[in-house]
Symmetry: C2
Subunit: 477 residues, 2 copies
């Protein structure tokens, strides 16, 4: 059994699933259809298999998401290989190259599976079967892309044109070229020919072949990426690529940079259910529906509606639809989107609009994820703010002080180790502590269970930037 080295791309942040997915907490980390997030599902899918052996996964993400990645993997009990931090987003080509170089360093003959972490692939057995078929092609010197048999003239996906040379009984074929997201009429034509597959953006190849392709097609990108990897810094268990060479890399998709240009590309069909969940219309398509075509979350109530998606993303918020047809309505505590389902691909307009007015909901979630856990603002008044703060076992906030506010902390779960001006005390559930204005303080959870506290801030200025940091185990300034 040959080993597959999975590479998971988890650094992207789209806008099409706003307001659930935001720049600060994108789609791959959200529970779109099931309890587990898309990222967790992807990681689990590439952990064990009857017919395949998986090496520890290489994860690519960015600095903001690194602790979300670590938390979500821990929650489902998946141990991975290195987590590479991209200093800035450069699209898929540099990321895949960096991870391929790393895989090859560990195993000169490494076969790599590079996959997005935000796709829906519920049929794991069938997916592993497709990879197994792909392995044969790779050992025969090919690079493999996985294609999905189109079920309808979708305009939201790219297509792969097949050579119709049928390399095996599974229907694998050489790829003649890539087709960008088509117009509807073109999509209809392609569907009719039976000669096209949807491009799932999942690739299987020998790391050495990919590196050779870069050497030939983009030698400068290879050099810069090698530099970024060689000078990568170990940062709290993450591997941070060197920002300097990385900054000089061009933004490139792996399709455009490499896959469309190589002549040994084979498409292996994956014949079961797949979706990129690339818009709310797709989420609607993939959701369980009632007899009128309505899909809904808990707390959502379609009354005399049809073909409508209603979601409430909070247990304290109900959403009711009355007499709607073909509408999508997504309610979060701080932002609500209501749209014509046919406009699902235009959600970016809403996000850009809000950004134009500097409305934070455009990009930021109410829950703010930090290395030590997260916080959310419960109430913001004239001279006060109430926050709920969650600190992971073993985690600690920085040693800090504020110039404009005092704070009251009430522990409601677990035990906090609190430092205030040099004195340290344990604060248990039901106890409180006061941090005067200017006091140098720190909150830690040295316990074994999560610690949750309610913080009441009082002062004339309550911005996150009123902070002086003295020490931080996460090396933040």
């Amino acid at each position: 059994m040959t080993t597959v080295h999975p590479i998971l791309l988890a650094g992207g942040s789209g806008t099409r699933l706003w307001p659930l997915s935001r720049k600060s907490y994108p789609k791959q980390f959200a529970s779109m259809l099931w309890d587990k997030t898309l990222f967790q599902q992807t990681a689990l899918r590439l952990t064990s298999s009857k017919q395949l052996k998986f090496a520890p996964q290489i994860i690519l993400t960015n600095s903001d998401f690194r602790f979300i990645v670590a938390d979500q993997l821990q929650a489902v009990g998946v141990t991975v290989g290195p987590v590479l931090i991209e200093p800035e987003a450069k699209n898929t080509a540099p990321a895949i190259l960096a991870a391929s170089l790393l895989a090859q360093k560990n195993d000169p003959d490494a076969i790599v599976l590079a996959a997005p972490s935000d796709h829906l692939i519920p049929d794991t057995a069938n997916f592993h079967e497709a990879i197994t078929i792909g392995m044969d092609h790779v050992t025969n010197g090919k690079m493999v892309t996985f294609g999905i048999s189109p079920t309808h003239p979708e305009t939201g996906y790219g297509y792969l044109k097949l050579a119709k040379d049928n390399l095996d009984s599974a229907g694998s074929s050489s790829v003649t070229h890539f087709v960008e997201k088509p117009e509807y009429s073109q999509a209809k034509k392609m569907l009719k020919t039976g000669n096209y597959l949807w491009n799932a953006g999942i690739f299987l190849y020998k790391a050495a072949d990919m590196i050779e392709a870069f050497e030939r097609l983009l030698p400068n990108a290879l050099k810069l990426t090698k530099d970024a990897l060689e000078n990568a810094a170990n940062d709290l268990g993450f591997l941070r690529l060197d920002p300097e060479p990385w900054a000089n890399l061009k933004d490139m998709s792996i399709d455009y940079a490499i896959m469309e240009k190589v002549d040994n590309l084979v498409a292996v069909p994956y014949r079961s259910k797949w979706s990129d969940l690339g818009g709310w219309d797709t989420v609607w398509s993939e959701s369980e529906k009632d007899s009128s075509g309505n899909a809904k979350s808990n707390g959502a109530h379609p009354i005399e509606c049809s073909n409508t998606l209603l979601r409430s993303e909070s247990s304290s918020q109900e959403i009711v639809g009355l007499g709607l047809n073909n509408i999508i309505a997504i309610a979060t505590p701080d932002a609500v989107l209501v749209m014509d389902k046919n406009r699902s691909q235009e959600v970016r307009k809403a996000v850009d609009y809000l950004k134009g007015y500097s409305i934070p909901q455009a990009e930021f979630s109410q829950k703010d994820h930090r290395p030590w856990g997260w916080f959310e603002s419960l109430s913001l008044g004239d001279r006060f703010q109430v926050k709920r703060i969650y600190v992971k076992p073993g985690a600690a906030l920085s040693l800090q002080s504020h110039r404009h506010r005092s704070e009251h902390w009430v522990v409601v779960n677990g035990t906090a180790t609190v430092t205030v001006d040099g004195s340290i005390e344990l604060v248990k559930e039901g106890q409180s502590v006061y941090v005067p204005l200017g006091a140098i303080h720190r909150m830690e959870n040295s316990g074994k269970v999560p610690m949750v506290l309610i913080e009441v801030q009082i002062g004339s200025y309550l911005g996150e930037d009123d902070i002086v940091r003295y020490e931080d185990i996460y090396a933040r300034k």
Copy 2:
């Protein structure tokens, strides 16, 4: 100048403007289109006039709303006459009769104007002009109803059929009968004849004439109502009608009980803008709109929409509409309604549906109004709850204890006078106090400005019914 005795009906609670209007905080107390609530606008409209003299208003409401009434009147500086508490809702006839009896007691020749407190009548001068015309008819032995010239075949209103006898140059006529909310085709026909007015449900009459009409048509109702008024109890400045005779009264509208049956009814037209704001479609009609027919609140963003109403009722929640046509979407922090605008008259379905599942948002607001102020739940966790509590100057919560929770209070505005197990202390902004489980405690605001505090409750049971009351200035049990 003869004096008009205004009677304001402020006890109703409709469902058609859910989720903004709820049973616990209905439409008349909400800011629908301007800063002032409909109730406040109504009270101000009947306070002073160039051509009319108004006696102090008699307000009719129910026990739950009495402090909201008092607060809202105080906020706009209107001093009223007695506030009558209806022990239970019996529709308009008993309420109007009770208030008319009270008006006559104060002034045997009292002329009464009975009006709902949830209508939109922006043109006060014109309204006063109509009342002045009505006064002439009343002094000539008539009872007056005000009719609105229909602008379209509205199916949401009742109509008055005119005798076309034109009693004066203002277009007043005798009323031959009342027409219930019609079908569209019937409404169209009525509009065509020019012989109908909308029934605004506002009446002007001599109190003695109304009492005489009840004597003749419903003598038993008169007797019961007289009993209820004679045995009314003074309750913290409110006049609480005796519940026993009141309970035996039938539920009756004044239209049905009296106005449709008297033969001296005259309709005086009011020719300016009027609306009962009886549904979200009407709120949309009455709102300022952009060139595509969209109306919106702060925090609401229609993008490529038409004829749509988008409202966010909270400063911390944004709502975006994308590509919508003829949709109404109303977002509150705990409930969102999205509907086809043509279904505006069916919002009750949504409310009934939620009630069927015992979902509190059907009837209760997030803000819970109490005699001493209000509170709202900011966060409800497994063993804790965070509340924001607002106490009016001079107000006090009951002396109480809890069996299942301890409480931390952090004052964020004003000063609290706090009693815990017999010891009393002043707690200033930025200070906190701890109330152990079982301690007998009270929170008061003896200051001159509102007091706001954040309460963090911790315990195994956090229901409102875990309370033992020892003393209460509002005589609650």
